[in-house]
Amino acid sequence: MHRALLHVSRRAVTARNLASTVEGDAFRLNEYSSKYLGHRKAAFTEKLEIINADDTPAIPIYRVTNAVGDVIDKTQDPNFDEPTAIKMYKTMTQLNIMDRILYDSQRQGRISFYMTSFGEEGNHVGSAAALEPQDLIYGQYREAGVLLWRGYSMENFMNQCYGNADDLGKGRQMPMHFGAKERNFVTISSPLTTQLPQAVGSAYAFKQQKDNNRICVVYFGDGAASEGDAHAAFNFAATLKAPIIFFCRNNGYAISTPTSEQYGGDGIAGKGPAYGLHTIRVDGNDLLAVYNATKEARRVALSNRPVLIEAMTYRLGHHSTSDDSTAYRSAEEVETWGDKDHPITRFNKYITERGWWNEEKEKEWQKEVKKRVLTEFSAAEKRKKAHYHDLFEDVYDELPLRLRRQRDELDAHIAEYKEHYPLEGLHEKH
């Protein structure tokens, strides 16, 4: 071993005596470029300059309409047809009304927990509408509008929030942890950002399929982007060339932490190019812009290059029913945002201008949705929960002996102490 070391050191000494350093420079620049820097053009500089991070320009925010809802550059108008536009508007407003009712129901103690999407209806529907049904979606927890667009029914929502026996998720998780295999929406989990590298894995698996026409889209917030899993996911997606869209809903807050305390760089979009991700920053409250950006991003992703979209928006509601945001932000700030820039207001202008909507239709629709939501709500409330045997299922594909024995122990216990357990709300048999 030491013989090899001596050999190398002798070489190092002679290198200094090489007549031409130009050859050495050219060699190195080529190596750096092709192997270290992803074929970007490497260059030397003799000027001492530490890049000032504060001076790097912010990536511009792509938009189609202004805050009021007027299309600025007609060439960017996606020209939705009436049925599509109406469906988009109805989905956003349905979400809004559902959110109000379910939020209140938590306050009344009828469901245990809820999270609203106030102010983010545009980024949900704009992005969801630009995808294909076969695209697999991983969410964070504030993407109910995406689910609604895909056909996850009011009934499904209510059943999940109540955790009754008809919940697709079998009542295993807290409210908001939706999942629907038929809708290609992977079940939500509480730990933040874990879904990002998973989405990359699924995208990679799709890429391996012949004639693949599926991408993965993964939603996450400004706070979630700080977790190590985001770094892992961006890096894996870029190096493995996964067909994936990373969709960041930057809504200004991670519970009480404002974005000014979340990161120091140019938002989340600023990280993209650094990882080798094609990137766009978009006005998240502009449904048309979100739609256009997602549609284009999908095309790029399908060519096996990942894309990062950062949708700038604002969280009008509290983080969840466990949060009172007046503790860390002024009511005035919230009101101003709601007045000056609301995705529903902006899109309302678009459909009204085209003669597809009016005040009367609005009134009727509000009434209809409210009724629908309340009907589903009370129906879900009455439905029973699954039998407690279900607690032991799905840990593995099959019930292991040890668990079966534990279940038997519980059966024996309940037989003797049944009056101490909430059996009335449960189905009697498994």
């Binding site: 070391l5 697709l168 989990s189 874990t194 998973q198 990679y204 698996a205 892992a232 002996l401």
Partner: protein, 383 residues
């Protein structure tokens, strides 16, 4: 100091090191004396653990077009050569390096599996499985706040939390495991007990090449996420005649590798060989017949097999390299205590690593050696 002087010092030092005795292994590998049933007639080839793992993966990837193998350095063959020639055979799309990021490897693996493809994820050292823990549990201490959750919070719970709409059963995580003679804190750990506390995972540790091949194939094909721990010290050291065909050894089944009537000795991985030696010593010195059981699958473990044995012998010792407190021996002890209370002739004993990080120079003192196990047998039979 000039570079040449530094180098000559280094080379002198290297010579000294190479002539000093680096202790020999704390055990002798005992090849299996019986084959899993049905394999007697299959052609065999002498293979070490590394080669049998390589074989298993090759067969898995030949029989399953969706299977992909990934991790750090697997492309050139892996730091322990377990993936030798696999990229050559199956191509860059199916066998590839990932960036250096265990949480990413675990998370990515879950996603591949969730999409319906078979994922074989390699974590280079079990000691580094912790960044993947969440994707396999929540960050607990402040310094580790950004650790990932993938294995515990995600993989283990994927099926349950989705109401069986989704699962990542096609994920198998392979990782190296156990003492290697000089690995110290971060290349010697046996982290299985960190995962036995997490329902939803299957955990497997082979004692040799024959078991490794069959168990790994079972893990890869099992519809639940599995972690397969490979005793790195056995990679080259353990060699035996291994059936060359496609075979599996069922998960959840322990194997009695030595029969006896006086005492039950449970171990897994490398420690099975320590146990066998201690059993042999016990026969010679104490005329005690010790029954040695290789647990093989740690979760779900073959409770009934061990219970039946203790009902016969009346005495139990569990031995593992991992630290004694809350090691998996504690779970076995507690279960057997409950189920065999009236059968027991002596207290159940655990012979395990001490409650310290895994030391470097003091490894021979830390490990549950043949003699510590022998001593426990002696105390037990004389109780």
């Amino acid at each position: 100091m000039s570079s040449s002087r530094a180098l000559s010092l280094l080379s002198k030092h290297a010579t000294t090191l190479s002539t000093s005795t680096r202790g020999k292994a704390h055990f002798t590998f005992q090849p299996s004396t019986t084959l899993p049933s049905g394999l007697e007639s299959m052609e065999k080839s002498k293979m070490n653990l590394m080669q049998s793992v390589n074989e298993a993966m090759r067969i898995a990837m030949e029989t399953d077009d969706s299977a992909v193998l990934f991790g750090e350095d697997v492309a050139f063959g892996g730091v322990f050569r377990c993936s030798l020639d696999l990229q050559k055979k199956f191509g860059k799309d199916r066998v590839f390096n990932t960036p250096l990021c265990e949480q990413g490897i675990a998370g990515f693996g879950i996603g591949v599996a969730a999409a319906g493809a078979t994922a074989i994820a390699e974590i280079q050292f079990g000691d580094y499985i912790f960044p993947a823990y969440d994707q396999v549990f929540i960050a607990f201490e402040p310094p580790k706040k950004t650790k990932s959750f993938q294995l515990v919070n995600e993989a283990a719970k994927f099926r349950y939390r989705s109401g069986n709409q989704f699962d990542c059963g096609k994920l198998t995580v392979r990782t190296t495991w156990g003492a290697v003679g000089h690995g110290a804190l971060y290349h010697s750990q046996s982290p299985e007990a960190n995962f036995t506390h997490t329902p939803g995972l299957k955990l497997v540790v082979p004692r040799g090449p024959i078991q490794a091949k069959g168990l790994l194939l079972s893990c890869i094909r099992d519809p639940n996420p599995c972690i397969f721990f490979e005793p790195k010290i056995l990679y080259r050291l353990a060699a035996e005649d291994v059936p060359t065909g496609d075979y599996t050894i069922p998960l959840g089944q322990a194997e009695t590798v030595r029969s006896g009537k006086d005492l039950t000795l449970v171990a897994w991985g490398t420690q099975v060989h320590v146990a066998l030696e201690a059993a042999q010593l016990a026969k010679e010195k104490l005329n005690a017949d010790v029954e040695v059981i290789d647990l093989q699958t740690i979760q779900p473990w073959d409770e009934d097999h061990v219970v039946e044995s203790v009902q016969k012998t009346g005495r139990l010792i569990v031995t593992h390299e991992a630290p004694i407190s809350s090691g998996f021996g504690a779970e076995i002890t507690s279960t057997v205590q409950k189920r065999c209370f009236l059968n027991l002739e002596s207290p159940i004993e655990r012979v395990a690593g001490y409650d310290t990080p895994f030391p470097h120079v003091h490894e021979p003192f830390y490990l549950p050696t043949v003699h510590r196990v022998f001593d426990a047998i002696k105390k037990s039979v004389n109780y």
